[in-house]
């Protein structure tokens, strides 16, 4: 079970930036919302300690913008928005990812029985 989780976390490490960019398509979201979306998609429990460094790197690279907004009866929230450049990178990465998964699938799928 642990080995399986380790492997999963290795895979996630490679695609987390892409997944986070994906959650921001079309709508600004705050950190907890992004973590919930990733969890709901089946990527497991993404901790703040993992998520915010990724968001920080995306911000530093100019792929997302940030904006503090008052929370609903709670603390202020830092929202992340995809920039134009971020949307372009997301599109490019999505295509690369699809090619990559197709290549992997072609190697590991069971041969069709005739």
């Amino acid at each position: 079970m642990t080995a399986q989780m380790d492997r999963r976390s290795q895979w996630l490490k490679g695609v987390l930036e892409l997944c986070v960019l994906g959650t921001l398509r079309g709508e600004a979201r705050y950190g907890y919302q992004i973590a919930q979306m990733l969890g709901d998609a089946g990527l497991g429990d993404i901790k703040g300690g993992t998520l915010y460094p990724v968001l920080g790197r995306l911000e530093a690279a100019g792929l997302v913008l940030t904006d503090w907004r008052p929370g609903e009866s709670g603390p202020n929230r830092k929202y992340y928005l995809l920039t134009e450049q971020g949307a372009e990178v997301l599109d490019a990465l999505r295509k690369q990812w699809q090619q990559f998964t197709l290549a992997v699938a072609s190697l590991i799928e069971e041969p069709t029985k005739l």
């Binding site: 901790k47 703040g48 300690g49 915010y52 920080g56 929370g71 709670g74 929230r77 830092k78």
Partner: protein, 225 residues
Amino acid sequence: MNNDAFLRRLERTLRRIEIDQTEIVEMLGEVRSHLEETGETPLDAFGEPEQYAIQRTGVDPETLHIPIWPRVAAIALWWLAGSTALTAVWSPGRSGAVVAWNAALAVVAAAGGLWLWHRHRPLLPTGSRLRRFEMSTTRRACVVVGLAATTAALGYTLIPYQADGIDCGYAWAEVSSDPGPCLTAAQDRARVAIISAIGVAFVAASAFTLAGSPRTPRVTNGPHH
């Protein structure tokens, strides 16, 4: 650790990394907001503050400048604490006020040394012990000179009177209006034994430090730079 304590430690670490004040406020804000939003415990959500600060800023901890002066100052303070503590313990004939002042000074100096050492400790996310002692040739030389000077100072100030067969004070009493404590032969032997043990400990610490310190510093330009 509650949220405030975590944020305090995180802020201290971010200041040590020397990033922009605006960025520090921003990073603290997002952590506070996340913790209040989720109700998670900070350690569960972010791990140790030092480790999180390194991950969040992307800085390579081995490239951080750790000044040598706090180490030297801490050792000097501990030496002061040790010598004043000895004076406080072995000061027959001295007034209670002198003993109390010495004891208080010893406590303050020891605490100050600990504080300095702790505040300027290296940031180690995964920390093998060896990494703590990695240092440049200049630093190795500073450590050797500093420890040798400390040991020599201990020997000069505390041992010579005993070596001359006089058992009524330390060397500094020669230039002081205070004649210093008069010790029994047994007390004096104990004093010399303790001082010798401190000297041996310094030399051992020096040898241990240098043995664990590779001659060439690790290449510090990681993938973040």
